[in-house]
Each structure stands twice: as C-alpha cells, then as structure tokens.
C-alpha cells in the first residue's frame, strides 16, 4: 500500500502540473458556472406570466386554479378565455398557458386520468420551459398525492415550490457538474495516459517488479480524488456565489459523483486502449465530448431535442448522470427514475472497465 500511495502522490503532482488537464477539469466547468451564474441568477427570483383558462366547472378545476393563482409564487396568473390567452401567448404577453379542460372533474370522479394542457412559448429559454414544466408537474403531483392519500415524499416537493423559486442556474449547475466529470474522463484521463504510453513511461514502469494493478490503482484513485474536488468546487461556487439551493442530500451527490467519475474514467481508459497516438486520443475524446455536451440535457432540456435524436440521447451516459444530479439538487421532475439513471450509468461503467482491462496495453 505505501507503493500505491507513492504512485498516487506522483500522479497527483503530474496532474496538477499539467495545464491542459487542469483546464478541462477545473477552468472549463467553473467558467460555465460563473458565466451562467452571472447571466441567470440576477435578482434571485424568477417569475413567469401565466395565462390560466379554467373550462372545468367542477371542484378539481377550482382547486387547481386556486393553487396556480395563489400558492405558486413564481406564477403571476391572469385568467381568461382560451382564445384570448392563446393570442396573449403568441404575442409574448404571457410565458405559459395552462388549460383546465371542460369535464376535468367528471373524468377524475369517474376514476380516469384527466389531462391538464400546457402551452409553452417556444421562443423563450428552454431552461425556463423546463422550470415551468417542473412546477406544473409538481402541482399536479401534489394534487394526486392528496387524492390518493399517500405519505410525505411529495410534501417535500410542495415545500420546494413555495419556499424557493428555482432559477436557471439551479437547472444548469447539475448538468455542468456532470459535464465536468465527463471531461475528467476524456481529457484528463485518455490523453495523458496515451501520452505516458507513447513516450515509454508505462514501459519503463513495466520494467520494474511493480505489479500493474498497483500502477492503475494509483492513477484511478488520483482521478477519483480530482472528481470529488471538482464536484466540491462547482457546488461550492454555485451555492456561495449564485445562491443555488441543494434540495437533496450531499451524501447522494457524493455517491453520484463517484459513480459518474468511475464511469467516465473507465471510458477514458477504454479510449486510451483504442488510441495509438495522443492526437487520435484527443480526437476521439472531442468526438465524444461535443455531442454529449449538447445532447445530454446539460444545456437544453431533452424535451426540446428532435425525436430522431432520442435513441442517441438515451444511449449517452451523460444524459443519466445529469438527470440524476438534477433530481437530487433541484428536487424537480426527472426525465428518468433514479434507479434507471443509476442502472444505466452502472452498466456503462461495467462495460467500459471490462473492455478497457481487456484491451489496455502498456506498450
């Protein structure tokens, strides 16, 4: 173990003295946090002009209308007819239109699922759209909860709407956190490893009696540490400078950070196994980085992406890591259940690590 520790320290020194690795793991995500934090956190509270059309004459419509009008603080609600409110939405006078259709109460009392309609202004920020969608979903969840009479989890969700208004940075932060772990695996793992191999460093280490698992363990532990430091910095800056609220618990965040780091470090080793030169390693890394960055819901909600991209989006591990982080930090409505997020990430981790240990060569 003292050998692994010495390797850990040596790898850490090598890492912190490597400017390219530092840029992708720290400077790049912090730049995004500061940029978006400065743009979006602004006054601290976000509000939306909401048009509410209540065509239902029954108790369900009345209760929901009351909730939207008086209990959801971010919503400044006006009421009117469907035609008036729709044209207000088209003219940009309101951000969101909610329609409680006729017969809503009747359908509910018959024991069927009724639909509340929501119309978004497509020209507005996609993140706003996601926030609005989340709020509306939460109101409906709370209502469902009361009708079905099950216990607490959603009391917490109600709390989050009424006590704190979610801002754009709240939504971006978890995505940027996930992205930074991906870049740890791509640019701060694959490229440096290929460079060590190409220059014969791994070969020289292989000429000593040092067991290879100790060498790998030293490298991996160092990167897991870097991943935790990245997460702490990104969350710390977001909370301290931009008043981001973390709804879930920090232990869950640490666990997800670890899982995400293992997955993407495994991917880094796999790329290093496939790439023969530093140039090809950084080429492959970039080819993975950019699509994942923009298609995994880090900057745009998945709902806004064209349907033909769905299979790719659903295959990408970053999609699930970002979704899992977002669930924990915002307490909002997830794209996938948490167990799916964890299962898909775990599967990626297992596949990457297995393939990497099969194909990774020291020379």
């Amino acid at each position: 173990m003292p050998t692994v520790f010495s390797l850990y320290v040596a790898n850490m020194k090598e890492f912190v003295r490597d400017r390219a690795a530092l840029f992708w793991t720290f400077a790049f995500p912090i730049f995004f946090i500061v940029l978006f934090g400065a743009i979006f956190s602004g006054g601290g509270s976000t509000s939306y002009n909401v048009g509410l059309v209540n065509e239902d004459g029954g108790p369900v419509g009345a209760t929901l209308a009351n909730t939207f009008q008086h209990e959801v603080k971010p919503f400044k609600t006006t009421t009117g007819t469907y035609d008036d409110e729709l044209s207000a939405l088209k003219q940009g006078n309101i951000d969101l239109l909610i329609v409680l259709p006729a017969g809503l109460s009747q359908t509910v009392s018959n024991g069927h699922t009724a639909q509340v309609q929501m119309y978004l202004d497509p020209s507005k920020s996609p993140t706003d759209a996601q926030i609005q969608q989340t709020i509306v979903s939460q109101v409906l969840d709370v209502y469902n909860q009361q009708v079905i009479k099950t216990e607490p989890p959603l009391a917490l969700a109600t709390n989050s709407i009424t006590s704190h208004t979610l801002s754009t940075i709240d939504y971006l932060m978890p995505g940027i956190l996930a992205m930074s772990l991906m870049q740890l695996g791509l640019f701060a793992t694959a490229t440096p490893l290929v460079s060590l191999r190409q220059e014969g460093v791994l070969r020289r280490l292989g000429a000593t009696p040092l067991p290879r698992w100790q060498l790998i363990l030293g490298q991996v532990l160092m990167r897991l540490t870097i991943g935790m430091v990245q997460a702490a910095l990104i969350i710390g800056i977001s909370v301290a400078a931009f008043h981001v609220h973390i709804q879930g618990n920090y232990l869950a965040l640490a666990g997800l950070t670890l899982l995400g780091a293992v997955t993407f470090i495994g991917m880094g080793y796999l790329i290093a196994a496939l790439a023969k030169t530093v140039e090809s390693a950084s080429g492959i890394s970039s080819a993975i980085n950019f699509p994942m960055m923009f298609l995994s819901g880090v900057f745009f909600p998945l709902a806004l992406l064209p349907a033909f991209l769905a299979p790719f989006v659903r295959a990408m591990p970053l999609t699930y890591l970002a979704d899992a982080f977002r669930q924990v930090t915002t307490g909002g409505v997830p794209d996938f259940p948490m167990w799916i997020d964890i299962a898909v990430l775990g599967a990626w981790a297992v596949v990457c690590v297995a393939l990497a240990s099969r194909f990774f060569k020291f020379e």
């Binding site: 010495s6 390797l7 020194k13 003295r17 460093v201 020289r204 000429a207 000593t208 009696p209």
Partner: protein, 308 residues
Amino acid sequence: MGDQANAIVVENLRKTYGATKAVDGVTFEVRHGEVFGMLGPNGAGKSTTIEIIEGLRVADGGSVTVLGLRQPHEAQAIKSRIGIQLQTTSLYPRLSVIEILDLFHQFYPNRKTLSTEALIQMVDLGEKKDTRSKQLSGGQKQRLSVALALVNDPDIVFLDEPTTGMDPQARRKLWDVVLDLKRQGKTILMTTHYMEEAEQICDRVAIVDHGHIIEIGSPAELVQRHFSEIAISFQAPGGAAEYQALAGVSHVSGEDGVITVYSSDAPRTMTALLERESANGAALRGLNVHSATLEDVFLKLTGRALRD
C-alpha cells in the same frame, strides 16, 4: 542456481517481426562480474535480444536463464534483481529528478535500495536534481535513466546504448560508472554501436549483425584473431621496397613519402627499423604504430562500417 559461472545463459534465441528475423538463433553466456557488450549497427537485433533477456519482450523460440531463473516464467523475480536502462526512456515529464528516483525506490519493497542522493551523485546530476525530467537534455535524461537502473542495487545491470546522445566528457564519466559497478562485482550486459566504448569497458563483446552473433571474444582477442599484423608507418624519402627485408615484415606499401610496413612481430621489426635509420643518420619522422580495431574487425566480417 544451476549455472554457477554464468549470470546469463541465452540459447538459440529467436524473434520474428512479420517477415523480419530480428533475432535469429542467438546463443551466448555472460559470466558473473564481467562487462559484456553487444556490438553492432542499428537494427542488428541487439535491443530486441537484450529486451527479451530483461523480460520486456517474449521470444518466439529458444531459452533465457538469468541468475538461474528462467524467462519469461520467473520474470517478476528476475525484475527485482536486475536493473534496466532502456534505449529511449522518458519518465513522468512533470516530476523532478529527485521525485522520480524517490518513487522508484517504492517499487522494490523487498530489496535494499541505494539512496537517492548516492544515485544522483553517481551519475553527476546534483545540479539538476530539482529539474523536471522533460527539461533535461538528452544526455542528462540518459544519466537519470542509468541511475534508475541502479536504484535496487541490482546484481545485473542492463544498459541499452547508454551513451547515445552524450558528449565525449559525459561518455567517459559514464564509462567510469560502469567500471565502478564492475569493481563492486556486478555483471553488466550492454549494447553499443561505439567501437571505442566496447574496447574501453567491455571484457568481452559479441559482434551482432542481422540477428546473428558473428563473433564473441575479448576486444583484443577479436582483433588478434582477424588481424595478426601490426602496421608501422613513417615518413621516408625512399621507396617502400627498401623495407621489405626488415625482420618480421610480411609486406609493405608506400605513397606520398609515407611508408607502411606490416609486421607479424612488431617489436623485432621496430628494433630493426630503428637500427637501420640510426645507421643511416636519419631521424624517424611521423612514426605511427597501430593495430587493427574492432571497427576493422567489423568491416572485415560484414563488409560494412559499424556506424552506417
């Protein structure tokens, strides 16, 4: 231990890359405590051979025994008892000389290691001890890589072209290090394409070409075996034929006033020559006595110059 006299035994070693037979039936032994050199041009198969012995490559055929242990089955045990300097070594580029040496100490947990200060002094890197390895010059990197080969105070030291890229002064310093290791009783197997290096520090050399060993012996033996005569040249006004009759001379040549006589018994020829010149009252000017070198041996055996 099997073989008491030999540190390394190599038998009928073969390694093929595609259509190229890099090592083609190489057999030799290295005795305990000797400096053994493999001499040959680039691409002769020296590095492949030495790396198979070190356990860094696996042979296609033949057998290798190092300190009584067999490659590649006992490679781990062998690695802790040998020191390896690779032909092109790079190390963690952003770690300093001291940091790298300290790290390598940790790789030999069950062995007495030499202190980092002692190693730095041995290869004369004191002024560069805090310099990061990527900022070292080629020669300094070579010296660091020699120091790394000595960290575990090995029984056998492998040096693969250790002085390539060094200036003549650094080269001589390294020769001193090697001779010092020999005095400590260590066995050294090295490759080189410098004939002078082999002559200066190797007890025995194997001349390697196209994956074969074409000669083995001490440098003096090899020269003697192939060039029994010594050349004596000097400036003289007369014709070369005048000297044909001197004791021990087999043949003569001469051009531009410089006469060369070839002798199979240099002392007798020299004595006769000096007597003749002093009897004639002439001073012997531009005298040069030289035997053939390994370079000449190599040229004779392969028809090519060593450094091509």
